[in-house]
Symmetry: C2
Subunit: 375 residues, 2 copies
């Protein structure tokens, strides 16, 4: 590689985050075939003009999360996938990983009306390819985020808390005092549902796996606003139905949120009241959703699925409305920061450094919510 | 028992079906505790005035079927049950068996405006207690049936064909050329769905169990209007999906009707297209409804239940509208007579004879549609 003096190196920190240099050396995490992320992802650089034209907006990534669906997408087992196309100087068709993230505006074209340098934005839609240091985007593909919440909150608002909010508001007309039940109560969506539910005046029962430090988890979730937290074993016990009936004072549980499947879900469905709805948004047990026939015929329950990506397309405006509502709850302190693990990297770092930051985040993604944070 | 001369015996045939005698000796099949029908059912007599008053209508039963739900009700495993109350001269609370049947009007009270002697009626609601020779009913509890269809058709119109009609019309807006799939294709509801579907311009795929005389059954169902009839083994085969895609020319299957459950149902759900609906109305395999998580999340299928009894109450007027539509199809020859097995008995027969007719019908109820027919 040709060595160039520091001042002219396009990856130099002092130039890349301003519009002084003619171009910015953007790093993108891309893949040309489906497989395990540690095997198929690579980091490449490409030049971006530092002065965007027309409706273009030049962005630098602030933070982007590793969501399970991002991994599934790269594995090729996710129905929604970005188009693989020849881009970024590659000879074969490639796509960029990641769907969610927060960006700051570095510069705008002369036809951009709603954004200015320094603004925060998130992608308006999925398959944006957020795992990168910089990107040139049309203004229309971006949604402005007010800086009233933390960067990490803004970077992760579109998937987990938005899913929780939509599931609690779109399937049943829940009124204050109504009950819902969920499994995976300590998942990111589960924690959001507890807090959003509390804000909406709802009572919740969250099912979690038994563990050594169960009391700690129960206290934590109760602290977030969970009305009741129960174990899978309690959920499985026939007698426990009576306890729940005492808690709810006989009021029917109207909604159940399922991200587990299998027996856990079956036992949860049994807690639903007449005409209740089961919403499935995940299947962590890798087992199908199994529902007794009598629940359908005599209890008239409805079982539906939820996929935030599809929902955005199905209901125009739903993403914006949801994000505004969730953001308000975050501003008001009703939705506390999720515990996140930051994997820092400079926006001017080398391809290898960016690659390593993402691989570290990917490797730890089962240990907690991972973010790659650019500085 | 005191012997009375023939002419004065209230059970005498010559008097019971007219209003000359002061009273009619009605036989009712009743039970005072839940259990197997052959153990808990008994036949008792009671006197009915042969001249009804006010809004009362005196009826003689023409025919009543043995439906599986009637048996489940007597077994105590059916959520909708008639109230057990002290009646018919019994010292303990009792209920009368049966929910469906056709009656003829013997006489009407002076405030009855819509019915006259000789008219046919069916109960407007469930838990009428149809297993009896005669009954005195309020006019408001009855629905008049025009004599444009056979007595057996009229006696069995409210449950099986009405269920098929409602399931094909209330869950998805199916248009001519659309496809639905069902298991239990040779059940009474299945045969009705095939014919009603054909009349509505729908294409159908019916799943049946393999058997020695499969071709005979396939020919029969195809003769009724089934577009395709497949076996459970074909339904279970992954490759068969391609065959179905060829049949439908890639058109998504919008609706699946399930009365089986278990793997049969799971494999059927896999044939549903994007946004399709699974309706469960029975569980003959005694296994639950099992649906892959991905079908909910990525195919956005909805799983619901159907229970004709509950549906009648939920949608006012639905029973009348449904019966009129089905009756029209029967009149037009679009819905042919189901094969039924008649168990004849005289309306003036002894308690024991009536009891025997019902017990014979009950004992044979797994061999085909059984009717007790009064003459």
């Amino acid at each position: 590689m040709l060595r160039v003096p520091f001042a002219f190196h396009p990856m130099s920190r002092s130039f890349s985050s301003s519009a002084i240099a003619n171009s910015i050396r953007a790093k993108v995490m891309l893949y040309s075939q489906y497989g395990q992320p540690d095997q198929v992802l690579r980091c490449v650089s490409h030049e971006l003009p530092s002065s965007p034209k027309g409706k273009e907006v030049l962005l630098q990534t602030i933070a982007c999360p590793i969501n399970p669906s991002d991994i599934n997408q790269i594995q090729g087992v996710y129905p929604s996938r970005p188009e693989l196309k020849v881009q970024y100087g590659q000879s074969e068709p490639v796509a960029v990983g990641g769907n969610e993230g927060l960006f700051k505006v570095l510069a705008v074209g002369d036809q951009v009306s709603g954004l200015k340098e320094g603004d925060w934005v998130i992608p308006s839609n999925v398959n944006f390819g957020t795992w990168r240091s910089h990107v040139l985007s049309e203004e229309s593909a971006l949604m402005k985020m007010e800086k009233t919440i933390s960067a990490n909150q803004a970077a992760t608002i579109a998937v987990n808390p938005s899913s929780a909010y939509q599931m609690l508001t779109l399937f049943e007309e829940l009124k204050p005092g109504d009950w819902f039940i969920q499994n995976g109560g300590n998942s990111q969506v589960g924690r959001s549902a507890i807090q959003i539910g509390k804000k909406l005046g709802l009572n919740s029962i969250s099912i979690v796996r038994n563990r050594d430090n169960l009391k700690e988890l129960v206290d934590e979730l109760t602290g977030l606003g969970a009305t009741k937290v129960i174990t899978e074993e309690e959920n499985a016990s026939k007698e426990f139905g009576k306890t729940i009936a005492e808690w709810t004072n006989g009021k029917p549980i109207k909604l159940a949120l399922n991200c587990v499947g299998g027996d856990n879900c079956t036992n949860m469905v049994r807690k639903l009241g007449q005409d209740g709805t089961l919403v499935t948004y995940g299947g962590m047990s890798m087992k199908p959703v199994t529902i007794p026939t009598t629940m359908f015929i005599f209890k008239n329950i409805t079982a539906k699925g939820f996929w935030v990506s599809a929902n955005i397309k199905r209901i125009p405006g739903s993403r914006e409305n949801t994000i505004k509502a969730v953001q308000k709850m975050m501003e008001d302190g009703d939705l506390v920061d999720v515990k996140m693990y930051e994997n820092p990297v400079s926006a001017d770092a080398s391809e290898d450094q960016v690659y390593q930051a993402f691989q570290k985040a990917l490797a730890n993604s089962n240990k907690g919510k991972q973010l790659v944070v650019f500085s």
